[in-house]
C-alpha cells in the first residue's frame, strides 16, 4: 500500500481500521503529539515514573553470570524492579495520562501474560479511571494470579474464549469494544502494535529504558555496549531498549523471539523468524499466517510473547538489517529462567528469560572486553505457579 507516510516504518505500520475508528486514531494522535511537547505533561509523567514507579532502575553488572558464562560482560537492565514488576508500567502511566487529558473515564486494555493488564489496572486505580481488561481464556488460566491482582486493583477482567484464547483474541475484543464505546473509552495498548499512532506512542513511553541504560553504561564503562538484547512478542520492551541505540551503528540490536517447541514444528510465535508480511489488527507487520492469509495458532511457554504479529518498527528493523532477530525455544527459556535465578538471585519473567537464554548462547563466544546489555523486562513471580504446575505434574 502507500509508503513513506506518517505512521509507517518502511512499508510497515499504517492505520488499517474501519472509518469509524480512524477518527478515534486521529484524535489520539493529535493529543499525543501535543502532550509530548507539553512541559507540564512531561513533568507530571516524570513525577509518577520517579516517585511512583521507582525509576530510574539500575543497570546491574551481573558479575556471577558473566563469570559462569565466561565471555562478554553482561549488564542487566532491571525493568523487573519497577512497580508492578515489569516495563509495562512506563507505558501504562503515560497513556493513562493521555486518556485523562482527553477526558476519557473508561480504560480498556488487552493483556497476554497479565503484566500489561496489571500495569493498566494499577494506573487506573491511581488516576480514578474505570478499567476493563480483555484476556484470552487460556491466558487467564496460566496467569490466574495476575487476573486476581487486576481484580484486587478494581479492574474487570473479561476472559475471551474465542479461537486460541490468547492475545490475538484479546486485541480483537478490545478493538470491537473501542468501536462501540470510544465516546468515553480509551484503548490503552501495551504492545508496540496496533494502528498508528499506537506503535509510536508505546515506543515513546518505553524509550526511557534505553535512555537510562545509555547514560548508565557510559557512566559505568565509559563506552557503548556491543549489543542490546531483549525478548520480542509484540515488541514493546525491545523497542524501548533499542530506541536510543538505533543511531549508534556499533551497537547490535538483538531481538529474541519465542521459538516455542521449535520453528520447524509450527508451534511457535516467531513472525520475524518464520512469518511473512500481512495486515492484522489495523497495521502491517510480519505475521504468522496460513496459506489463506488467516492468522495461525501460535504457541509459547510465555503468554506475554504469544502473539501472531510484531511491532511494525521491528518488522522494518529486520528488513533494513539494523536489527537481528533470533529465536529460542521454550526449553532454552526455561533453562535460562533457572540460570539467572540461581547465579544472580533474580527470577526473570519467562518472557525476559528468552533474552537471557540468547545472551547465554553468545556471551561465551565474545571477549571479556565486550559488553552485553540484557533487558530483564519483568520479574518471574507471575510464572512461579505455571512452572510449579509444569514441574510437579
Amino acid at each position: 500500500m502507500e509508503k513513506a507516510q506518517k505512521g509507517y516504518f518502511g512499508e510497515y505500520g499504517g492505520s488499517y481500521v474501519p472509518p469509524e475508528l480512524q477518527k478515534v486514531m486521529d484524535q489520539i494522535e493529535e493529543l499525543f503529539e501535543k502532550c509530548k511537547q507539553d512541559p507540564e505533561f512531561n513533568k507530571e509523567l516524570d513525577y509518577y515514573l520517579e516517585q511512583y514507579a521507582g525509576r530510574p532502575n539500575p543497570l546491574y553488572f551481573a558479575e556471577k553470570l558473566t563469570k559462569k558464562l565466561g565471555g562478554a560482560k553482561i549488564y542487566l537492565k532491571r525493568e523487573e524492579l519497577n512497580h508492578t514488576g515489569s516495563h509495562k508500567i512506563n507505558n501504562a502511566i503515560g497513556q493513562a495520562l493521555i486518556a485523562k487529558h482527553m477526558g476519557k473515564t473508561r480504560i480498556i486494555a488487552e493483556t497476554g501474560a497479565g503484566q500489561h493488564g496489571v500495569a493498566t489496572a494499577t494506573a487506573c486505580a491511581l488516576f480514578g479511571l474505570d478499567c476493563v481488561i480483555y484476556m484470552g481464556e487460556h491466558d487467564t488460566k496460566r496467569q490466574a494470579l495476575n487476573v486476581f491482582r487486576m481484580e484486587i486493583l478494581g479492574a474487570e477482567v473479561k476472559a475471551i474464549n474465542n479461537g486460541e484464547g490468547s492475545m490475538k483474541e484479546a486485541i480483537d475484543e478490545a478493538l470491537l469494544d473501542l468501536a462501540e464505546n470510544y465516546d468515553n473509552t480509551f484503548y490503552l495498548i501495551g504492545s508496540a502494535v496496533g494502528p498508528h499512532p499506537y506503535p509510536s506512542i508505546v515506543k515513546h513511553f518505553q524509550s526511557v529504558i534505553s535512555k537510562e541504560a545509555k547514560e548508565q553504561i557510559l557512566k559505568a564503562e565509559g563506552r557503548l555496549p556491543d549489543a542490546v538484547l531483549a525478548c520480542v512478542g509484540g515488541g514493546s520492551n525491545a523497542i524501548g531498549a533499542f530506541a536510543n541505540f538505533i543511531n549508534d551503528s556499533s551497537v547490535r540490536l538483538i531481538g529474541v523471539e519465542p521459538a516455542g517447541l521449535g520453528l520447524d514444528t509450527g508451534k511457535h510465535a516467531a513472525p520475524l523468524n518464520a512469518g511473512e508480511p500481512g495486515v492484522i489488527h489495523g497495521f502491517r507487520c510480519y505475521m504468522v499466517q496460513d496459506d489463506q492469509g488467516n492468522p495461525m495458532p501460535t504457541h509459547s511457554i510465555s503468554a506475554g510473547l504469544d502473539y501472531i504479529g510484531v511491532g511494525p518498527e521491528h518488522s522494518y528493523l529486520k528488513d533494513s538489517g539494523r536489527g537481528e532477530y533470533v529465536s529460542v525455544t521454550d526449553q532454552e527459556a526455561l533453562d535460562a529462567f533457572y540460570l539467572l535465578s540461581r547465579t544472580e538471585g533474580i527470577i526473570p519473567a519467562l518472557e525476559s528469560a528468552h533474552a537471557v537464554a540468547h545472551a547465554a548462547k553468545i556471551a561465551p563466544t565474545m571477549s571479556p572486553e565486550q559488553i552485553l546489555i540484557v533487558n530483564v523486562s519483568g520479574r518471574g513471580d507471575k510464572d512461579v505457579q505455571q512452572i510449579f504446575d509444569m514441574t510437579r505434574k
Binding site: 500500500m1 502507500e2 507516510q5 499504517g14 492505520s15 488499517y16 481500521v17 474501519p18 472509518p19 469509524e20 475508528l21 480512524q22 477518527k23 478515534v24 486521529d26 474465542n162 479461537g163 490475538k168 480483537d172 478493538l175 470491537l176 468501536a179 462501540e180 464505546n181 470510544y182 465516546d183 508480511p277 500481512g278 495486515v279 492484522i280 489488527h281 489495523g282 505475521m287 499466517q289 496459506d291 489463506q292 492469509g293 488467516n294 492468522p295
Partner: protein, 283 residues
C-alpha cells in the same frame, strides 16, 4: 467502474408496486456459511426475489468491523474450509446463472494480500464480482489501491464507507469516487445490534447529500420496515446483514427435512424484500 452495478442502482430508484419507496435493498451473506452450495442457492433465490445488489462476505478470523453474529458466521465458514479461492468459484457459479444482480465482495485485507492483490483483482473481475467493500482500507490511503484497481480490474467499483465520525477531509476525498454508492454506517461501532434510527442520524445522512453525489446506502443494524421507511426519505438504499445472517443461522441450526428448510428459506427471502413495504406492520 461496473456498468452492471450502475444499472442496478438506477433501477432500484424506480417506484414500482413491489418497491413503493424506490429504495434499494442489499442483503449481506457470509460466503460458505454453512457451505458454498447453500450460499449459492440463497444468492440466486434472493436475486430472483428482487434484491438489487448482493454483498458477499469473505470469512476472516479477525474481522475488525463485525459484531458477534457475522463473526460467528465467518467462523463457521472457515471451519467448513471456505477460503478466497472458493469464494471466487462461488461468485463465478452465481454469475453463470445470473447476469443481472451485481455482487459486492466485502473482505478484510489480509486474505487478498496473501492471494496476491493483482491476481485477486484480475480473478475477481473474471469471477463476476462487480465491486469491493474493504472496511480496513482507509480511503485516504487508497490511491495506490485504486490505481491497481483501474489497471487490473477496471470493471470493479470500490465502495467507500462513511461513518458519522468521518472528517470533512474524508468526505472531500470521497467526492472523487463518482460511481457505485457510499456505504453509510447508521450507527456507532460494529455490524449488527440494535439500531434505532435517530433524528440525528437522519440529519447526518441529509447533510451528506450536500457533500456527495453518490447514492447513499445505509447499513449496520437494519432489520425492520419501520427503519427502512424512515431512511427512504434520506437515502437510496439499505444493507441488511446481521439480521439476515441470524435468520439463516437459526434455520441452519434446526433439524428439519430438506424440503421444510427450503420452504423456510423462501420465507426469509420474502421477509427481506418485504422490508421495503411500508404498509406491512412490524412483527
Amino acid at each position: 467502474m461496473s456498468l452492471l452495478l450502475e444499472k442496478a442502482l438506477k433501477k432500484a430508484q424506480n417506484l414500482t408496486p413491489s418497491n413503493p419507496l424506490g429504495i434499494g435493498i442489499t442483503p449481506y451473506l457470509m460466503a460458505g456459511d454453512p457451505n458454498p452450495e447453500t450460499t449459492l442457492r440463497r444468492m440466486l433465490q434472493l436475486a430472483k426475489g428482487g434484491v438489487d445488489v448482493i454483498e458477499l462476505g469473505v470469512p476472516f478470523s479477525d474481522p475488525m468491523a463485525d459484531g458477534p453474529i457475522i463473526q460467528a458466521a465467518g467462523q463457521r465458514a472457515l471451519e467448513q474450509g471456505m477460503n478466497l479461492t472458493k469464494v471466487l468459484r462461488l461468485t463465478a457459479q452465481f454469475r453463470a446463472q445470473n447476469q443481472d444482480t451485481p455482487i459486492l465482495l466485502m473482505s478484510y485485507l489480509n486474505p487478498l494480500l496473501k492471494y496476491g492483490l493483482e491476481s485477486f483483482l484480475r480473478d475477481a473481475q473474471s469471477s463476476g464480482i462487480n465491486g469491493l467493500i474493504l472496511p480496513e482500507l482507509p480511503w485516504r490511503e487508497s490511491s495506490s489501491f485504486q490505481e491497481k484497481l483501474k489497471k487490473y480490474a477496471p470493471e470493479l467499483t470500490l465502495i467507500p464507507m462513511v461513518a458519522q465520525t468521518s472528517s470533512q477531509d474524508h468526505l472531500k476525498s470521497l467526492s472523487q469516487a463518482e460511481k457505485g454508492f457510499a456505504y453509510v454506517l447508521s450507527r456507532h461501532g460494529i455490524t449488527g445490534g440494535d439500531a434505532t434510527i435517530l433524528d440525528s442520524t437522519l440529519e447526518y445522512i441529509r447533510s451528506l447529500k450536500e457533500e456527495l453525489t453518490l447514492p447513499l446506502y445505509v447499513g449496520f443494524g437494519i432489520h425492520s420496515p419501520n427503519q427502512v421507511e424512515k431512511l427512504a426519505g434520506v437515502c437510496q438504499g439499505v444493507i441488511v446483514g446481521s439480521a439476515l445472517v441470524q435468520k439463516y443461522a437459526h434455520l441452519d441450526a434446526l433439524d428439519l427435512p430438506h424440503e421444510e428448510k427450503l420452504k423456510k428459506e423462501e420465507e426469509i427471502a420474502t421477509w427481506l424484500i418485504s422490508l421495503r413495504q411500508p404498509t406491512l406492520k412490524e412483527e
